[in-house]
Amino acid sequence: MPGQTLLKVENLSVVIDDKKIIKDVSFELKKEEVLAIVGPNGAGKSILLKTLLGLFKTESGKIEWGKDVTYGYLPQRFHIDHYLPMTVEEFLKLKPNPKYSITKVMELVEIDKHWLHKNLATFSSGQLQKILLAWAIIDQPQVLLFDEPTENVDVISQESIYDLLHHLQDTLGISIILVSHDLSIVYHYANQVLCLNHAMVCYGEPHEALTNQNLSELYGDHAFFHHHHFDNHHHE
């Protein structure tokens, strides 16, 4: 049912190699919600996502997934060796416990059937992302954790992957946690936003949480150089 809490994170801290990467972060994810995690490079966004997956140990705090909640993961980088001999079909079959058939999942992510027998190494990074999306949802997860790639994916592919995510959220009722550095994506697609710069800077609905004050705290004042700083200089 909508509104059901799928994930509850309380006062989470993560320490890696004696450095505190995540400090005292709390949030919730409800069914059919899209939660965006934004912040500058190196703010701990990807680490937070991986901690939710159980890939990093928590120092303190709690991560509570709801009973029987299943989740899928799309990593930021998917480096494919150029000579890797593996077809899309073989790759999708590597996922344990699939719930959808390969044909069904191809339909869901709008992949052409003739891709199935082509080699993974022949696809562009945008296309690979679609294939990864198919991989991520083939076992019918309730929550999708999506780490936005910061490089190598062109704007058009990036938009189409978000449209696709949006479509999946509508048709399958999937909840999404997405890491992004692009605020327009957040305004477009997210119900909730969490600003992260090691500690939590803001959390709430995008239009309320992303105030100028919060943003400048998050990205530093230079992000608003053109709006404020430059103008002030001009009038001096």
């Binding site: 990593p75 001999p85 079959k93 344990p96």
Partner: protein
Amino acid sequence: MNDLFFITLISGIFVAAASGLTGSFLILRRMSLLSDALSHVALPGIALGIIFKFAPIWGGLAALFIGVFLIWLIENKTKLATESVTGVFFVTALAIGALIIPQQDLLEAFFGSVEKITFNQIIFQTAVAIAIIGLVLKYLKPLALFSIAPDLGTSVKISPAKMQLIILILIALTISIGISFVGVLLISALSIIPAATARNLAKSFNSFVYLSVILSVLSLSGGLSVSYVYGANAGIATVLISASLFGLSLFEKK
């Protein structure tokens, strides 16, 4: 054809199949030179076998397992790359081996000596080869996923440390059964060269693995036959056949 040659050949087919399978994962993991370097770690064990008159394969196997375990341990502790740790181990083992193996036995340890394989050894090698094949088939999917995208692997609860350990065990077992055929120095003829050739030819993962197995079997049975008919060293003949197949595959690549 005499009986001993025939059963050696049958055993060789299993050993080569196991080596080809292991080799395909080493190629995917970009650990090609690892098995080559690691094979030297067997030398001190082989030396003990020669000196104390037990089958060198046991000593080799024990030395490999101790070596692999120490490498895995040091790698996890220091975060040095597997290859760096192996680099330290293999020259040390080579030096110790060369120091204590009698001169006339050294060449055999380096290049293999099919003539000296005993019946017991043949049974043992074949059994280990079958175990390797079983282990790879059991972990085929997680191993493949871990090899091509470790991140995706961990996200579906595949433990990288466990997979790395399985790969190291596979390498140790593969080397130990290959040594009597091709020797310590030529071990990659059975695993790396066939897998590299297969990668040149294959369009899919399945065909890559099958081809790697087939090419390894072809190379070793070819090498054994040449050795039987012309009295040449089987290890050297196997390498040359394996390398020629690799050369031919370069022309096939589109």
